[in-house]
């Protein structure tokens, strides 16, 4: 090879390298120059990174799979724990309300848990985990922190049956809190209660609060029953009745307090 040509090539190479270094140096000093350079490198870098990621994915497939399974199990476990903790939190909230009611209440009460419901659709009853052994007797009144729940109709040594206020067989003497209008509240087996035997000129309005009247010895005075949602006339047109939304969520009671007279 010609030595002059060789020398020329070497010279060009040195110049090119110096120019490259200079450009890199300048790019580090001048951001507007560095940015387009980085932009140029972005695509090949991405491509390389993608290839590396994919190859690593293939090589470590099994490891990732077992790791994924492990994480999934952990996730399930944590989800279950979260649900359980949420349940405990809700129970705690309910029991706190119960405790405050028990402390505020002027009555002697026994707290009980609901363990069952009736086997048929013809009655509205709950079964609780306290019976005669705990001092519960037939006729005692059941409440919770929201209001009147029902009345004990049957007791065994360790359990009791409570007829809820939405059972048609249970009637409670009640008054409209605002106007003191008396009436008889009974269940319909549905979501609402019915306050019957109201005179035509009775002072009852929608959203009025209904409480126990205390006229009968059984139910203490002033226990919240619910609020009026509708007022109608009886078929005979002699009296009126109103529909009451119970204060207590009767379909999902979990704990009750039994009042000992």
């Amino acid at each position: 090879m010609n030595p002059r040509l060789n020398k020329f090539k070497k010279k060009n190479l040195i110049y090119s390298a110096s120019l490259g270094v200079l450009l890199l140096f300048l790019s580090s000093l001048i951001p507007p120059l560095r940015t387009p350079l980085l932009d140029i490198f972005k695509l090949p870098l991405n491509l390389l990174n993608f290839t590396r990621h994919e190859i690593a994915g293939i090589i470590f497939y099994h490891q990732h799979m077992s790791q994924n399974e492990k994480l999934r199990r952990e996730n399930d476990l944590l989800k279950q724990k979260l649900i359980a903790l949420n349940e405990v939190y809700l129970e705690n909230e309910r029991l706190n309300k119960f405790l405050s009611l028990k402390q505020k209440s002027s009555y002697r009460v026994i707290a009980a848990k609901v363990i069952g419901r009736p086997a048929d659709s013809w009655s509205s009853v709950i079964i609780i985990d306290k019976g005669t052994y705990h001092g519960i007797k037939r006729g005692f009144v059941a409440i919770n922190y929201l209001g009147l729940v029902g009345r004990v109709i049957e007791t065994t040594f360790l359990t009791s049956k409570i007829m809820l206020i939405n059972d048609p067989n249970l009637s409670v003497s009640a008054i409209v809190e605002r106007s003191r209008q008396e009436g008889l509240v009974s269940g319909t087996l549905g979501s609402y209660l019915m306050m019957k035997y109201l005179p035509k000129e009775a002072d009852v309005k929608i959203s009025d609060v209904i409480v126990t009247s205390g006229l009968t010895y059984v139910y203490p005075k002033g226990l919240l029953i619910g609020t009026v949602v509708d007022i109608n006339e009886e078929f005979s047109r002699l009296t009126r009745y109103c529909l009451i939304k119970p204060a207590v969520h009767l379909s999902n009671i979990e704990e009750v307090l039994i009042i000992i007279p």
Binding site: G116, R117, P118, A119, W122, V125, N169, L189
Partner: protein
């Protein structure tokens, strides 16, 4: 052996009836799993055991209801006897006959129960009475094939000697 296992199955169905089933109520009505167990025992067992299992289911239902004790026991015994007699006269071997039969049994049980409640002075509004009287049989009849599917292993259980 099969009889005793089905007896335990009746207890489990009874417990489901008074607990979990309250979460699947439609229009405040739930299916009667104990009546389903009665029909199953009457169809898959001979007269003696059908009667015993029927009475057992009836007692269980009486325990968990507030009706006069014995109402369901007597009714269930009567149904067990009649179904076994009927199954000897006509073939009740497919769901097209079993489901309507389940509907009829539940409907009659509802009507009789309502009449008994009425004599006790129980005043359920007419609309609600109708709703329970027709929806409960429908719901029970529709759920019957599902219960049959899950109890089939017990009903076809045989001890291999």
């Amino acid at each position: 052996m099969r009889n005793w296992i089905f007896l335990i199955a009746i207890v489990i169905l009874g417990l489901i009836q008074v607990t979990i089933l309250n979460y699947v109520k439609i229009f405040n009505i739930k299916p009667d799993l104990l009546l389903i167990s009665l029909l199953l025992s009457s169809l898959f067992f001979e007269m003696k055991w059908a009667f015993i299992l029927g009475v057992f289911a009836g007692i269980l239902k009486d325990i968990f209801t507030i009706d006069a004790f014995g109402t369901n026991t007597l009714l269930f015994a009567l149904w067990a006897y009649l179904i076994v007699k009927l199954s000897k006269k006509i073939s009740i071997d497919n769901n097209y006959i079993r489901v309507p039969l389940m509907f009829i049994i539940t409907l009659f049980t509802s009507i009789i129960t309502r009449l008994i409640l009425l004599t006790q002075g129980n005043a359920i509004p007419f609309g609600i009475t109708l709703r329970i009287m027709f929806l409960e049989p429908l719901y029970t009849a529709l759920i019957f094939p599902l219960v049959l599917k899950y109890t089939q292993p017990i009903l076809s259980f045989k001890v291999i000697k």
